[in-house]
């Protein structure tokens, strides 16, 4: 990460790297802050540390500092309960947490990031270390987060191929602790572009920031895009003139690509297939659902090579993780199952859902996504989430939570949804329909796992 900031600063130290609600930070300022923090880490012999901070400029400088001296940084997800912070620090053996949140001071050894950035630079070795680890925590739909060990050398493999594009202004829609967020930080810094980072990172604030800061490029989860479109429609916002619309992190529901293409006629629409474990396989730019079949014929030199085994996508990645924290490591360059179930239709690989999301209805395996797409297209349905509901008779039944459009009659909608699903095999039909105010999400992704 330090090499990206240095490159940006060398090109134009005064170019804005990060714009948030209060201030603009240039590439020169980020690089200088990173060198100072690196001097602190080297001087104190810090080998691993946690970070509880969501300010994009602070986080980028700390990541770059860590990558400068080979210390393992770990960005924490938001923690509601300060007591949970101590548990998390203990679980990952972090003896230092960089944070300016006063309420956690005293629970774990803390230091304010300002103190790191005030350290005089220059006390670090000239060369970058051979091993430069980074720990990414999974968002974890259930239970405690898992640590995923990466190395900057692997993460940045594709960054060298990114063309300089200082005129691009990217909206930051992810938390920096999310793998999707890390990918955006790397991409924007590698391009020498500008990151627009409003807080909090919700579609409403995103729309305001797009208008205020001339955003041209946006990468977000399909769920974020769906909320953003709904927000635009209900608030009557002017349509931002986007050049690039990118989706990643979860399967793309059928009608969404078309809606985005209609809403943003001047934008290229791409999808990114990526995961915390195997990294990013690059983007698919043809605005069609799924992946082209040609991804199965990539040469061995590709960052990510794919194959399909028993309807599941497998990958071999040169940009993926070293292994899980605290577990025996497999070969980082070996084949891994992705947990993504796929079908081949014509020249396309289509995603059917996560293997962990499959609903077993009396021995019949039901994929929630196609049912969810069918229900999402019923007039009057704003959003839907299909999941498995435990049942004494059949183990599970297909259940759906529906957010109705404001003026919809829910009794009529209930009937319309059942009619729309009448042609499905009996096990796939929703047996429980609940109308809710909002859909449960984790990290801006819909949770379909059985609870």
């Amino acid at each position: 990460m330090i090499e990206l900031l240095r490159r940006g600063a060398l090109r134009d130290a005064s170019h804005p790297a990060i714009v948030d609600d209060d201030r603009t930070t240039t590439y020169g300022e980020l690089a200088a802050a990173a060198e100072s923090a690196a001097a602190y880490l080297a001087g104190e012999g810090v080998e691993r540390f946690g970070v509880l901070d969501y300010d994009a400029a602070t986080v980028v400088s700390l990541l770059a500092a860590a990558s400068r001296v080979g210390a393992e940084a770990c960005l924490y997800p938001p923690i509601d309960d300060p007591g949970a912070l101590a548990d998390q620090a203990a679980r990952f053996d972090h003896r230092l947490v960089v944070t300016h949140h006063d309420d956690v001071v005293g629970r774990v050894p803390c230091i304010d990031p300002a103190e790191l950035f005030a350290t005089p630079a220059g006390a670090t070795a000239a060369d970058l270390p051979a091993t430069r680890p980074l720990l990414v925590l999974t968002t974890g739909t259930t239970g405690t987060p898992r640590g995923i060990r990466h190395d900057w050398q692997r993460l940045l493999r594709a960054a060298g191929r990114i063309e300089p594009a200082p005129e691009q202004r990217w909206l930051f829609c992810y938390g920096p602790h999310q793998f999707g967020g890390l990918q955006i930080l790397i991409h924007v810094m590698a391009a020498g572009a500008t990151l627009v980072a409003p807080a909090p990172r919700r579609p409403r604030e995103g729309l305001a920031a797009m208008a205020a800061h001339g955003v041209t490029h946006v990468s977000a989860t399909p769920t974020y895009w769906r909320f953003l479109l709904a927000e635009m429609r209900s608030a009557g916002n002017p349509v931002p003139d986007l050049r690039q619309v990118t989706l990643g992190g979860e399967a793309v529901p059928g009608p969404l690509l078309g809606e985005l293409a209609t809403t943003f006629p001047g934008a290229n629409i791409s999808q990114v297939y990526a995961a915390s474990e195997f990294g990013s396989s690059g983007s698919v730019r043809d605005a069609r659902d799924g992946l082209p079949l040609s991804v199965l014929e990539r040469g061995d030199d590709a960052d990510i090579v794919m194959k399909i085994v028993d309807d599941e996508l497998w990958v071999r990645s040169r940009v993926g993780m070293i292994g899980y924290y605290g577990e025996e490591n497999d070969d980082p360059d070996g084949w891994r199952a992705t947990g993504d179930l796929v079908d081949i239709e014509g020249d396309r690989i289509l995603f059917r859902g996560r293997s962990s999301d499959i609903i077993n209805v009396g021995g019949v395996k039901v994929h929630p996504l196609p049912v969810e797409n069918l229900i999402s297209e019923v007039p009057g349905v704003k959003m839907a989430r299909v999941y498995g509901r435990p049942n004494a008779m059949t183990g599970a039944i297909v259940a759906v939570e529906v957010v109705a459009e404001p003026n919809a009659d829910t009794d009529e909608l209930d009937t319309a949804i059942r009619d729309a699903c009448a042609d499905l095999v009996p096990a796939s039909r929703p047996r429980s329909i609940r109308f809710v105010d909002e859909i449960a999400t984790t990290g801006d992704k819909i949770v379909r796992r059985m609870t």
């Binding site: 009396g362 049942n391 004494a392 008779m393 039944i397 259940a399 096990a427 047996r431």
Partner: protein, 84 residues
């Protein structure tokens, strides 16, 4: 508890009216299965979810296998009153 008895019976009746398009000839001794209402296993699974949603619990999830409408109603009769 007269209230839950009426609720259980009317919940079963409206479920059958929706799934089987049938509203007549449903008595307490009508069988839920083949020769009676003719619910299949998925419809029974659905009925158990509907009962749980509307009445807070259901006989199927409590290890029972009621054969008739009346046996479902009886399950709620036997239950001690609980505050909502």
């Amino acid at each position: 508890m007269a209230g839950s008895k009426r609720d259980a019976a009317s919940t079963v009746r409206s479920f059958i009216a929706r799934t089987k398009k049938r509203s007549k000839g449903i008595e307490l001794d009508t069988s839920l299965y083949a020769e009676g209402i003719g619910l299949d296993s998925l419809e029974v699974a659905e009925l158990s979810a509907v009962l749980e949603d509307e009445l807070g619990s259901d006989p199927f999830s409590n290890g029972q296998m009621p054969e008739t409408v009346g046996e479902i109603v009886a399950f709620y009769d036997d239950k001690p009153a609980t505050s909502p």
